[in-house]
Symmetry: D2
Subunit: 285 residues, 4 copies
């Protein structure tokens, strides 16, 4: 991937001829396809998904005109839901966090080492515990306290701080966002849940896992919807455990899974590798 | 492990001195401890679990007297729940199965190659589809058809066929056994459930996993209790999947997980490595 | 995949326009592309690899003419190395084995359950130990004893028995095939080596792994070349082990890895998912 | 584990009666055994290894006297190689690093969150690139440049800085330490090698892995001996890769494996869970 890379994501009813139409259009306008992945939800009559990466230095028209022409010549004909994004149009990302720092630190560390293609614009927390740790990375840190009585105002403040961002990551943010808040950011809020969903929805999943006596613990990165812990799953991971673990050591082992699962999901989102379809994701990883 | 190996399993309130008392008792009666594992459920005041393997050629008393003396000199003092088993007292195992053969075949194959220390006495199915496959291994095969109207009689027939067995394995037996049946075999029926429990309890878990869009599928081996799919978990495993899988390919991938998870759980049970405590297991693997 | 599925595999110098040219050609001749995967070995100026699955019921010409036309209109222009295979042209597969049965049994079991799209024509062994086990699956079994003195004759006999097969699988065949033999089956002999290559080349890898004290053991499926254990790797897998394992239990644990790794590699080969390039493989799995 | 925890590690010829002798000794002197693990290298006549954790608040003698008495009453009789360590006797650890930061950062982060029971006394590097990053954690950072001409002096400077430490961790330190240096720290230097040893010994293992076309990459934490990359292995891990990876992305994926493998190995060492025997380790994890 270079700064000249663009990505085209397509969802449409499956029909013969799509690959030919799309690839010929791009080729004829000077775009060099360097990656292509596709998926059909059924052998026939299903939904078709496509992701192309192409290089733009020899495009024969502006980005705006390319979009318009693609819509008229190709997309309309196949009834496509589509978008093009350009790697040099760097996504802006905000992170919400409470007190535990592992998920946040993993994102900041990967970002500072160049592994997350985005700008981290701000970190918002309902506590001030992580102010210094965030400050070291040169990222603005805001405290927005939340309690039973100020939830509406608090969310309004957070919304104001989030303006202009493309993605919001909940890196163990222990507050439940309201339905109104969430619906304003469709498929643009990623949460890390500290269990292998759909097992152990809700609060304190490590305690639930301990009580159940499972032999593997997991973590799930998913888009947030108004339905708690039920949004489209992007990525999951697990780690073996035994009867020897306490709730505390489960939590500690689980943190490593959470860190890796969240970092992969965020990266895939930033690289436009995720298409949401109904309550499921297509991940062209 | 040899034919002279014995195993002692202990559950008792945790107190200082247990290791010393048990190991000294065995040593003083000519038993050579060759493996020892233990677990305490809490740093203090919890429950204590212990598994010892010892060699018996130089025992200074009969097995019966050893048991009686251990009870009087050690177990009573510590309020122990305990049992000794001898490797030359080969466990008898029966398998219940419906039509799909992968879990059954895995057990038969491992058993025939010497990896499962037991006698497989009988295979019982509600269909005759697998008669020939079982016959090749020289194991008696019985068909007991089950329908809505004959469930009580069918279970009675199965019970009769199971007499004398130490362990019953449900290797994808698609019938739900009655509570009466199940309570007669406490911690002696092992089931393989084709999901990562507690996710996807009940029927058709691969369809449920497909609908949910999970990125890992799993299998769970557990003891059967009267509460469907809720018994103590012995072992679990998972396999990565993606949006590309259909319900059918999920099932196929899942079969490999099921085979391995069930085979490990059965082996651990046969080697007296599993202690049930409440609704959880301690597995000294 | 149905009996009307065809697969096109392409290797050629990377250039703009390939996807467009290939997909338009197929579309224009009535082939419906249902799967497409591609890879470029470098961002620019590398080698390009492509695999397409397409459905053939509406082809507007014969298979022979399609091949000829594709060569003239597309392949020649891009200097392609290519082949088309049809799912209804079922591949013939032979298996060579010595005495241990796990890899062979796994292939036979998966094949009998429909998971390996091929015809298993024959099993050849240098021992008669597995005659009965193979016979149960209705597959012809041949014994060709091998010793120091008869190696040339033995290989000639094996060659005669292999005539007409598309693929030869060494499912733990403990003889080293001669360079002459091997070069006659380029990328058409798959071996399962019982280590994580390139670690532990040669004889008795589990003993080597034990002596080294590794914490993971592995297995490697690879195409056989004249260079022992050095051919292109198709698939690998590992399993955690600890200091508790003996050479014997390493072998037992390793067998499960071998079975799964070999079965995946064979399936991918049969589904035309593997392209060999130099001493490496591209696997469109 | 609490500040009152002690650990006893034993290696000796295997004989009946060891568990009884050791556990009775501890019990009789007021030590409460809370964890016990053991291993025998062979069913009979092998080497015996044991690790006990015990709680010390009710010891009936001083630590010094306990050691002396244990030697006289138990250890001598069984020809034991043994040591006791106390959790409140916090180990001092130094880290050597070059320019890449992921392994170092992982250790600092886990240490600062309380997951590594040690004091990190100093970080030494042959470059100044990581001075600021280390400074944030409040750990002294020293630059000791190394080149062909000053190797002896440089090692002398490093030795001086390391005085008083219990453990040295090479967190991707790209210099080869001399045999003299290494033999002064027997089983007290841990290195993270960025391959699945014994595959890809020496320089640039990700390039080697790329050239070989392996389907899994790995990392190995081992004690350093005078023999390059050949010391006793403590822990290993792997990650799946495909033909799509470049050397660069292999390196990036590998870093996550390195971080986790090294962190586990260091923790086990700090908790006295590792016994070296010949060129192998017993890890009571």
């Amino acid at each position: 991937m270079t700064s000249r890379t663009a990505r085209l994501l397509i969802t449409c009813p499956d029909k013969p001829g799509i690959v030919s139409a799309v690839s010929s259009f791009l080729y004829n306008h000077g775009a060099n396809i360097t990656d292509l992945d596709q998926h059909a939800s059924a052998p026939e009559g299903g939904t078709y998904f496509m992701r192309l990466e192409f290089q733009t230095p020899h495009l024969d028209m502006s980005r705006q005109l390319l979009a318009q022409t693609f819509e008229e010549r190709v997309a309309r004909h196949y009834n496509m839901d589509w978008r093009i994004s350009y790697a040099d149009d760097v996504k802006k990302m905000a992170i919400l966090v409470s007190k535990v720092d592992h998920a946040l630190m993993e994102l900041l560390w990967r970002w500072s080492s160049g592994a997350l293609p985005c700008e981290i614009t701000t970190v918002i927390s309902n506590h001030d515990a992580l102010a210094e740790a965030v400050g070291r990375f040169g990222v603005p840190f805001h405290v927005v306290p939340v309690n039973k009585d100020n939830k509406v105002e608090a969310e309004a403040k957070i919304q104001a701080l989030l303006q202009g961002n493309d993605l919001v990551v909940l890196a163990r943010y222990m507050q439940i966002l309201s339905g109104d808040f969430v619906t304003g950011w469709p498929h643009r809020i990623i949460n890390i849940h500290h269990s292998f969903l759909p097992a152990f929805v809700g609060a304190n999943p490590y305690q639930q896992a301990y009580d159940k006596g499972v032999k593997l613990i997991g973590a799930t990165a998913h888009y947030v919807t108004a339905d708690l812990d039920q949004g489209p799953i992007i990525e999951q991971g697990v780690e073996r455990v035994s009867h020897r673990e306490s709730v505390e050591t489960l939590r500690e082992l689980g943190q490593n899974v959470e860190r890796n699962v969240l970092a992969r999901a965020v990266r895939w989102h930033l690289e436009d590798r995720v298409i949401v379809h109904g309550n499921k994701t297509i991940v062209f990883a």
